[in-house]
């Protein structure tokens, strides 16, 4: 096994099992790190907790819901300043956050009364919202508050409301991934099958494991609707609570992030016989294959092909403009979640970037299997890295850019590695054909930002040069390109708008209607 030992972790021999470098001739039967285990004493994990995985990752992207944390107010930290799972109902779910504000006296005497009071208060404060999700936290799970009983009591008194209870306190798993699992299973047990939807198409899907980061979901749903497909629910980005109660009526579950949401797909497959189709929404080729597969399933592949042809013709010259300028740049792909494997191969094939390292903070070995399979020889794969290991890897690999979350991203910036937010994005959406160009544009802007010319100077000892001018992005990026590429009239920079999502919300889809036989 080609394990890698970080110098900073030599005193923690167990950490050796959590990093590998894929060597020549090695495959998944010889190069796979440990994963999804408790943090090893002596190191410090940078993961979220199971409560975070349930609420902030999976639950809260549901848009028409009061999401209330039963616990101290600090547990609601991740709100609209840190999350970008937007919605088309004015972002109710990220603008407003709710906690029962549990204090010491409630821990001693119980907090169920406080919870009931808060539920009613929240519904009264937002009378147009009739749906609620309650998340337990460490504090209220430890004192044994019966949240389900309180929720039922309120529903008996207020029959117009519906409440979902998620018991996923912080200690329920070694990382936020445990919370993903819990909320998936809880939703199918408590809510799926409790609403009968109106079916308006012959082709009905649930779009699962998609969280609408800066509009990703809306881009993909636009494609599906254009194909005449009814998207019954989206789990859970921009998703509606009642739509998600009707998941049992779909013909197909289209799964994007398998790690966070395969559980509900698998349960729907066992209980209702709905098959699961895993897709990639990022990159021209993977996305085209995905649309084609969904089209083939329903016998409407010509509609998928029409979208593929039109979108590719429109956006490929812009993607290729960036590819020419990103060729060979080294990237640390440290997104933490499913983008590890969604991006590992396609950013190499379609943007020319070399993935020299990848990591997952909370993933399972299955995530690493996909990532390592898609990376080339020499890539360093790290499970659950800490900050020191991250810094050591940057020093060793000297990447041109790091794609990661904002905490490790800010650390990378301090050692002069350009950072792009792979979690919440800089200027997303990144899904869809246009989105993939936006992503390439953001990578280009990060790598070639003129600020790096200044940041490389140590003003405590280096003199600021005054004899040469300032190099623009184009001067730097085009320095080694051929004249043919530099002056190409075919290739061009991104020509889309600042906001590529809002216009989709008012779009009409005429052929969705009247598809059902006899309608």
């Amino acid at each position: 096994m080609p394990h890698h030992t970080f110098k900073c972790s030599e005193c923690i021999p167990e950490r050796r099992q959590h990093a590998v470098i894929k060597g020549p001739g090695e495959d998944l039967t010889s190069a796979l790190p440990e994963g999804y285990l408790n943090t090893i004493p002596g190191t410090i994990s940078e993961r979220g907790c199971a409560y975070c995985g349930a609420k902030h990752v999976i639950g809260t992207p549901m848009k028409d819901v009061i999401h209330i944390s039963h616990g101290p107010v600090g547990c609601t930290y991740d709100t609209w300043q840190t999350k970008r799972y937007i919605s088309d109902n004015d972002n109710f779910q990220i603008k407003n956050t709710f906690a029962t504000d549990v204090k010491e006296k409630h821990i001693v005497f119980g907090a169920e009364g406080l919870l009931k009071k808060n539920i009613i208060e929240a519904f009264k404060a937002f009378p147009e919202i009739k749906r609620m999700t309650i998340y337990s936290t460490c504090a209220t799970a430890l004192i044994g508050d019966d949240i389900g009983a309180v929720a039922q009591e309120v529903m008996d008194e207020m029959p117009e409301v519906d409440i979902f209870v998620c018991n996923s306190p912080g200690f329920a798993g070694p990382s936020q991934s445990g919370g993903h699992h819990i909320i998936n299973i809880a939703w199918i047990k408590q809510k799926v099958g409790t609403v009968e939807p109106e079916i308006t198409s012959d082709y009905v899907i649930n779009y699962v494991g998609e969280y609408n980061i800066q509009g990703d979901q809306e881009v993909m749903v636009d494609y599906f609707k254009t194909m005449g497909i009814q998207v019954l629910s989206t789990f859970t980005g921009n998703g509606s609570y009642d739509d998600l109660r009707a998941m049992h009526r779909a013909h197909l579950n289209v799964l994007e992030c398998a790690r966070s949401a395969e559980y509900i797909c698998n349960e729907l497959r066992v209980k209702y016989g709905i098959p699961r189709l895993d897709i990639d929404g990022f990159g021209f080729e993977p996305l085209s294959a995905s649309l084609r597969k969904v089209g083939l399933f329903f016998g409407i592949e010509d509609r998928a092909q029409a979208i593929i042809d039109e979108e590719t013709a429109r956006w490929k010259p812009e993607l290729d403009w960036y590819k020419e300028r990103l060729q060979g740049k080294k990237v640390c792909l440290w997104p933490g979640g499913s983008k590890l494997w969604h991006w590992a191969n396609v950013i190499h094939e379609e943007m020319g970037l070399e993935v020299v390292s990848m990591y997952t903070k909370f993933g399972h070995q299955g995530d690493m299997e996909k990532g390592i399979a898609r990376c080339d020889t020499g890539a360093l794969a790290i499970d659950d890295p800490n900050e020191l290991e991250g810094l050591e890897a940057l020093e060793m690999l000297k990447p041109d850019i790091i794609l990661t979350g904002k905490r490790p991203g800010e650390v990378a910036k301090k050692v002069r590695v350009p950072y792009l937010n792979a979690h919440a994005y800089h200027n997303g959406p990144y899904k869809g054909y246009e989105g993939w160009v936006r992503f390439a544009r953001d990578i280009y802007n990060a790598i070639y930002s003129p600020i790096h010319q200044l940041s490389a100077l140590d003003i405590s000892k280096d003199a600021i040069p005054t004899d040469k001018g300032f190099a623009t992005q184009r001067m730097t990026s085009d320095a080694n390109l051929s004249e043919e590429i530099r002056s190409s009239v075919t290739l061009r920079q991104y020509t889309g708008g600042y906001d590529s999502v809002s216009k989709l919300r008012t779009k009409t889809y005429p052929h969705l209607q009247n598809q059902l036989a006899g309608v």
């Binding site: 998944l28 039967t29 197909l252 398998a258 080729e285 993977p286 399979a373």
Partner: protein, 116 residues
């Protein structure tokens, strides 16, 4: 001959590992079904044999198989020169290799966990 076969299986395997997702479901029993479902249907498509699409699950295997067969034909021109017997032998070798990499030789300890 054996070396050539091995080399060709490696090319087909590399495509699957880099571009597909169906082979990495999270449990052994699921991977067995996926590998069998998708690869047997891919073989049938490549051999111009009828493919069963009777159940929703079969249709799912089939759509992955259609796209895989298309990509194989597009990328590996040597496929066109093979007869049906050779294709079946090749696909059998590929199935054994994918089963080994994703199931029997896998280091993923979660594969045998009973619950999802």
């Amino acid at each position: 001959m054996e070396e050539l076969m091995k080399e060709r299986v490696a090319q087909l395997e590399n495509y699957i590992l880099k571009h597909c997702l169906w082979q990495f479901h999270s449990r052994t029993w699921d991977r067995e079904k996926q590998n069998e479902g998708v690869l047997s249907k891919t073989m049938q498509i490549l051999c111009d044999e009828p493919v069963d699409k009777g159940t929703p699950a079969d249709r799912c295997y089939w759509v992955d198989a259609v796209v895989l067969a298309e990509e194989y034909k597009k990328r590996f021109s040597w496929l066109a020169a093979l007869d049906k017997t050779e294709i079946k032998l090749l696909m059998q070798g590929l199935k054994e290799r994918i089963d080994y990499v994703t199931i029997t030789g896998s280091l993923n300890k979660e594969l045998t966990v009973k619950q999802y």
